[in-house]
């Protein structure tokens, strides 16, 4: 036992002194690593990615000119969320709402959502991200969309970094899931109001993300509360599985000087009206469930 301990401690010491030194793979026993740590390669071999709610709002804004405030969640309801689960999911919802109001230059409404976000973040240990300095900086730049988006996306990146480094990947995942549901709700509702082929295309583009979310919810099954969401997302996936995606590969073009690759593939997305309606209804149902948590 003592021998094993000495070998292990020697490894820890060497690793912390100089990580460039040769480390034999045999010396690392992966079973000792916490599977929920963000620094663990053995996180089921998976890293998760969910589209930025800000980007989705920008894409929708480029496609549809009209601002639709009725699709947003009510910021006043923020105080009713009393569990980490409901707070994290609704922090995601409000983040997406903030993104939508921001890209539509609704500065005063944006501040209301920012205030809701500040309230939720302070309750889940992220008060340092949306602190007074942040609010002042955001307020000063709110008339400049580009600057305010840089400030906001950086803040959310900081929050994500903090949660992951504190081994709170579950909370980070719930925030992302909440924001994704809200942006999908925007797209489906905007399209129901007035059919728009580009918006339909954006809805179809989400096919892959549904599977990612189901994987995420399974990963955090221990939280208990995720069971119902897992069932709902599995149903949503059933509808997304009926979205037909045709892909044709074409060799990309590289500009070495600019450090840029231009993709040239072709991608067609086909969704029937029936499937589109089913996706819209299921998304609305999941969103309602999230909004009414702990209320």
């Amino acid at each position: 036992m003592n021998k094993i301990l000495h070998i292990f401690l020697s490894f820890v010491f060497l690793q912390s002194c100089n990580d460039n030194e040769v480390v034999s793979k045999k010396e690392i026993d992966k079973s000792i690593l916490d599977p929920k740590s963000s620094i663990n390669a053995n996180f089921d071999g998976k890293i998760f990615s969910i589209p930025s709610p800000f980007q989705m709002s920008i894409l929708l804004n480029e496609t549809v000119e009209n601002y639709s405030p009725e699709i947003l969640h009510d910021p006043i309801k923020v105080e009713k969320y009393s569990t980490n689960f409901s707070r994290a999911l609704n922090l995601g919802v409000y983040s997406a709402d903030l993104g939508y109001t921001c890209v539509n230059n609704q500065n005063n409404t944006s501040l209301m959502y920012l205030s809701a976000i500040e309230s939720l973040t302070s309750k889940i240990g992220l008060e340092f991200v949306f602190d007074k300095n942040f609010m002042i900086r955001f307020d000063r730049n709110k008339s400049n969309l580009d600057s305010s988006l840089v400030i906001l996306t950086e803040a959310f990146r900081k929050a994500d970094d903090y949660l992951k480094s504190e081994k709170r990947k579950g909370t980070s995942a719930l925030i992302l899931i909440g924001s994704w549901v809200e942006t999908l709700y925007f797209a489906t509702q905007i399209n129901l109001k007035e059919r728009n082929e580009k918006v339909i295309h954006h809805i179809g583009e989400q096919k892959q993300t549904v599977s990612t979310i189901i994987d995420l919810l399974k990963e955090y099954e221990y939280d208990g509360d995720t069971k119902k969401l897992q069932v709902d997302f599995t149903e949503l996936k059933f509808y997304f599985d009926q979205v037909i995606v045709n892909y044709e590969y074409l060799t990309p073009v590289v500009d070495k000087l600019k450090k840029q690759t231009t993709l040239r593939h072709k991608l067609n997305i086909d969704i029937s009206d029936k499937v589109l309606t089913e996706i819209a209804e299921k998304t609305e149902g999941i969103r309602e469930q999230i909004l009414h948590l702990s209320i």
Binding site: S16, S49, H202, T209, L267, I269
Partner: protein
């Protein structure tokens, strides 16, 4: 008694080990951020930090590049810029890009006229670094 003592030492060592890597990852995020925001216009972060501890293995994840956007992938695993190899593949496995062909460049931009689900694969260049934390950030501009 000795058994419990050993368990305690082992637990503390594991905590120190994890803490050491956690600190390493946190420090790398700022370095990576500099690669993400180089130049004008500024890329907006997708709001996520992708960090992973690698030791002679690959990490991969799926994401979607949305059409009419330009993406930047920035990576780091230390002070030197060329420790990390990353590749972008389509879901059929076609390699769309690998920084291995460009001196392990620490960042690369992708102009995306049409949406595409992709797989991003990351590994350490074992000739330069054997093990450690790899941080990746993804940014976009419309």
């Amino acid at each position: 008694m000795n058994f419990f003592k050993n368990i305690l030492i082992l637990t503390l060592s594991i905590m120190a080990f994890n803490y050491s890597f956690s600190q390493e990852c946190s420090g790398l995020v700022e370095i990576c951020k500099n690669n993400l925001i180089k130049g004008n216009p500024k890329f907006l972060s997708d709001g996520q930090v992708y960090s992973v501890l690698l030791n002679n293995e690959k990490a991969e994840f799926k994401t979607t590049f949305f059409g009419n956007s330009t993406y930047r992938i920035a990576v780091t695993s230390g002070i030197e810029d060329d420790y990390v190899v990353f590749s972008v593949k389509d879901l059929d496995g076609n390699i769309l890009f690998t920084n291995k062909d460009y001196g392990n460049s620490a960042h690369w931009d992708f102009k995306v006229p049409e949406t595409l689900p992709v797989v991003i694969e990351t590994e350490l260049d074992l000739d330069k670094k054997k093990a450690g934390c790899v941080v990746m950030l993804i940014g976009f501009i419309q």
